[in-house]
């Protein structure tokens, strides 16, 4: 009998955290995106996901470089600007048993990629869609993005005259089935939301305020560490309990009122009530709370909206159990005699 590895070293499938790492980050030290990459590593490790079962997608920009910095053993595709959703949509059909994690930015999603973002949401493709939202274009050195707040002043750009795009609102009105927002500085919440988003069978939009320490981190700026810390209003405390047989979990919350959200695969998201009770299955309440947050200058975080039961994209296509990309010629090419009857149709 082999000696069981210490639970501190390996996860439920016997992998170490190193098995989930990526290449060293080339982003700026202190960038919010790096802490998000670390939480993706932690979440996948803690969930016991086989890295080979995860596929990473991204578009163009600082955020979109980050899939290289986690899950080295996972396939990844860094596509063109704003059009990661279409790549992922097509790839979804190859093997529906895979988990998809897309990482985008506010420029990649809310500007050039708005169309594809809304449509991947509308189609409910099973994918965790993370927006690393910092309000600026970092890689081109600090221009305003579409999520920059009106009135934001940046060094070489002047003052932003336009209203910002709210990615969670856009997701909600496009009938997203999972909408969440977090702040890169809140590691635990980010991690638990990543787990819930991965477990969700459908599109999981996770908008994470992720400060750009180089170009947009002034104290009064909406996307800065200081402002976000001071203005964060969590809707609830959140814990993700994966569906695992024969393992007893301690209730992550010792006291207080909790609300449980059961996911498609049987895992559970536990939300602990904070100031007031919040029902994340009520779209109107979600929109109301977000509108109120905009007015009052709050950064609302947590699981904003969740809808269970809507089929995901590939559920609509009557696909076989076996992954399509493992089908062979014999299974894909119709028999010769079928062509004879087809030819007869055109005579």
């Amino acid at each position: 009998m082999t000696t069981p590895a210490s639970p501190a070293q390996v996860n439920s499938i016997g992998l170490t955290k190193t098995d989930y790492r990526g290449l060293p980050s080339t982003l700026c030290p202190g960038c919010g995106h790096n802490s998000i990459a670390n939480q993706i590593i932690a979440a996948c490790y803690e969930m016991g996901l086989l890295p080979e079962k995860v596929v990473k997608f991204s578009g163009i920009g600082c955020s979109s470089k980050s899939p290289a910095y986690f899950l080295n053993r996972s396939f990844g595709f860094n596509g063109v600007h704003g059009r990661m959703p279409s790549l992922a949509t097509g790839a979804r059909f190859a093997d529906t048993s895979l988990e998809f994690i897309g990482v985008s930015g506010d420029g990649d999603t809310a500007s050039i990629g708005m169309g594809q973002f809304k449509h991947v949401v509308r189609r409910n493709a099973a994918m965790l869609y993370i927006v690393e939202n910092n309000g600026v274009y970092g890689l081109t050195k600090g221009q305003f993005s579409a999520t920059a707040e009106v009135g934001l002043a940046l060094k070489h750009q002047g003052t932003n005259p336009y209203m910002p795009v709210d990615i969670c609102m856009e997701a909600l009105v496009s009938n997203a089935t999972f909408v969440a927002r977090s702040f890169a500085g809140d590691s635990k919440q980010v991690r638990e939301l990543i787990k819930a988003g991965v477990a969700h069978n459908g599109i999981a939009v996770l908008d994470i305020i992720s400060p750009c320490v180089t170009f947009n981190n002034e104290e009064n700026s909406f996307h800065s560490y200081t402002w976000s810390k001071d203005h964060t209003e969590p809707l609830h405390e959140i814990a993700f309990v994966p569906k695992l047989k024969e393992i007893e979990f301690d209730d992550p919350f010792e006291e207080g009122e909790v609300r449980e959200v059961t996911m498609h695969d049987g895992s559970v998201v536990i939300l602990k009530k904070l100031e007031k009770d919040y029902d994340p299955t009520d779209r109107w309440q979600a929109l109301r709370v977000m509108e109120e947050a905009q007015r009052k200058n709050w950064l609302i975080t947590g699981l904003i909206y969740y809808e269970q039961g809507r089929p995901s994209l590939t559920d609509l296509y009557n696909l076989p159990e076996k992954p399509l990309n493992r089908f062979t010629e014999a299974e894909l090419r119709p028999a010769p005699e079928t062509l004879d009857s087809l030819n007869a149709l055109f005579t």
Partner: protein
């Protein structure tokens, strides 16, 4: 005015109003000729409009088997008052003009046979449901022409039944009108024109269909697994045909689909989805036309550079810009050849008839997966949407080529040692793995940014250049896999080179040139780019090469000049684009004019 009988050799131009149901009537006539064994073709000159604008349908019957558009239609059928005078003037002396008798405009021609038809009266009096009368009124000219040209009622019946896929009720409603019109013509018209049809046996074993249908079926037999598309004329019917036949042909034993077709939000997404699916190991395609292709440009470059198999059908229409959406052209060739920024050259297939659309439909997937590259197939509106006679579709004559894909057991044998972009075999084509491969060494990171052999990000100058040169090598490697040109040669000085839908006009022009002007020509029909050695050799063997194409600038000649700069002084253009299919007469005259210089 009737002189010698002209049998099975004339063209009919039918002028109707778009959206009036004339398509059924026109298709009925065309298929009737085909079913009589007479070579025939049908070309729809339709407006970019749902209802109300003028539309013409050109039918050519030719005992000699010529199917190109004719410059002049000896028989005119005028149902549309808006174009009546134009249609009347278009009939050549000695021709015949059938027209709806409720159009009261001055005729003023005595050099043609005139046949007024009581279109409204016949359909009004026919014993059919009132709500259908408007739709079947066009069957009046079918009946009148059938009687006057000598098409048996039984053949019309067969042909109408074909249009309605054997549905008896719909067939009968239409046949009531046809019979009434035939009877009226027998009782009221005296034939004064020379045109007639007689049965032949020249269509036996042939199909009559369109290139888009053939392309879709070819893709299905090629094992198509994923298609994403966005509606655009003239390519939409290709994707719609996929939707029509996939459910019948591609289910597993337990009724599951081995395919998925998705209508995307635009062409940017359609190509993105197709590339995502191709990257993930599916036989994947999209179909579009020029404007859509412009939108797909950036992603085409990614597929080229990240080396993702994907098939893109371009059903060309007149451009630039919106251009003439419902008219044909071969104007996308240069653009597609280089589609993308940076150094890019794509492999292009050029089908010349429906049978080849079917063939290239499945071959394109083999090529895409073999070369790990986007493969473009250029058809056009004329080939894609019009009715062509064609040899039957042939079942693929070789096994699928899935290319260099490593699965778990392959990586096991390699002890997990491999590199995504390493040229192991010296043909420029590396090995790939696809998502879902669970071997711990399977994964790699695809990107449009500079990368080394292991697919890691790299800005190293040497790495960049050697990678681009390796990709270029694939373009050379491709030549051995491409369909060879079709050459008809008898040692002449003049060689003609053309591709795709202009082929029937070129073939007929060669006969005209030889028989009327004594100018003999050889002909190379190109079926793929890049040009192979056979093309170079053909060019070398000739003194003067005419590139016949339906565009303004002679794009094929431009590309050939780049490929064969030393021979370019021999190249001449016969290019023309007015939105209509080229005619043999125009091709012959254009070549003659240059020969006489």
């Amino acid at each position: 005015m009737s002189t010698q009988k002209i049998v099975n050799d004339f063209a009919i131009s039918i002028a109707t109003v778009n959206g009036s149901g004339s398509q059924t009537a026109n298709s009925t006539l065309l298929r009737a000729f085909f079913k009589m064994g007479i070579p025939a073709s049908g070309k729809n000159l339709f407006p970019s409009n749902i209802q109300g604008l003028p539309t013409w349908y050109l039918i050519r019957v030719s005992k000699d088997g010529f199917t190109a558009r004719k410059d002049v239609s000896e028989i005119g059928v005028a149902i549309n008052p808006a174009t009546f005078m134009q249609d009347l003037q278009a009939v050549p002396p000695g021709g015949a003009f059938f027209y709806a008798d409720d159009i009261r405009l001055p005729i003023g021609r005595s050099d043609i046979s005139l046949y007024p038809m009581p279109v409204k009266a016949i359909s009004r009096e026919a014993d059919i449901p009132a709500n259908l009368k408007e739709y079947v009124a066009n069957m009046v000219y079918v009946g009148v022409l059938a009687h006057m040209l000598g098409i048996p009622e039984s053949v019309i019946h067969e042909s109408v039944s074909y249009q309605f896929k054997g549905k008896e009720k719909a067939t009968e409603v239409n046949m009531i009108v046809v019979r009434a019109a035939m009877q009226w013509a027998a009782e009221n018209l005296t034939k004064t024109d020379p045109f007639a049809v007689e049965p032949m046996d020249k269509t036996k074993g042939l199909l009559m269909t369109d290139g888009n249908t053939a392309a879709a079926l070819g893709a299905i037999y090629g094992g198509l697994q994923f298609a994403a598309w966005y509606p655009i004329t003239p390519s939409s019917s290709l994707a719609e045909t996929l939707n029509q036949y996939l459910p019948k042909l591609r289910k597993t034993a337990d009724g599951k689909n081995t395919y998925a077709v998705l209508q995307a939000e635009d062409e940017l997404a359609a190509i993105g989805m197709a590339i995502g699916a191709g990257w993930a190991g599916l036989r994947s395609m999209t179909a579009t036309a020029g404007p859509g292709l412009s939108l797909m440009t950036e992603y085409a470059g990614l597929a080229y550079f990240a080396e993702v198999p994907v098939v893109v059908w371009d059903i060309q229409r007149s451009g630039p810009s919106t251009g003439l959406p419902t008219r044909t052209a071969q104007g996308d060739l240069t653009m597609v050849n280089f589609l993308s920024h940076g150094d890019t050259q794509h492999v292009i297939l050029l089908p010349g008839d429906p049978k080849e659309c079917f063939e290239f439909g499945w071959q394109a997937f083999d090529l895409a997966e073999r070369l790990q590259a986007p493969i473009f197939v250029l058809s056009d509106l004329d080939l894609g949407m019009n009715q062509w006679m064609s040899k039957p579709f042939e079942y693929p004559n070789r096994p699928m080529d899935r290319g260099k894909v490593l699965w778990e057991e392959d990586l096991e044998k390699l002890n997990g040692i491999w590199a995504r972009y390493k040229d192991v075999d010296g043909d420029g084509i590396p090995y790939r793995t696809v998502p879902g491969n669970l071997h711990p060494a399977a994964a790699w990171f695809a990107r449009g940014a500079g990368h080394d052999e292991t697919s890691r990000y790299s800005e190293d100058p040497q790495v960049w250049e050697s990678n681009l040169l390796r990709i270029k090598k694939k373009y050379e490697t491709a030549k051995q896999y491409l369909p060879a040109p079709v050459i008809d040669e008898s040692g002449q000085e003049i060689g003609l080179i053309a591709y795709g839908s202009v082929t029937p006009a070129v073939e007929e022009a060669r006969v005209l040139l030889a028989s009327q002007s004594g100018v003999r020509t050889d002909f190379l029909r190109l079926r793929a780019l890049p040009c192979t050695q056979e093309v170079h050799d053909f060019v070398q063997r000739h003194q003067r090469l005419y590139f016949v194409e339906a565009n303004r600038d002679g794009q094929l000649r431009q590309l050939a000049s780049i490929a064969m700069p030393g021979e370019a002084h021999k190249f001449r253009s016969a290019c023309h684009t007015d939105g209509l299919p080229l005619t043999a007469r125009w091709v012959a005259n254009t070549i003659l004019a240059q020969e006489e210089k």
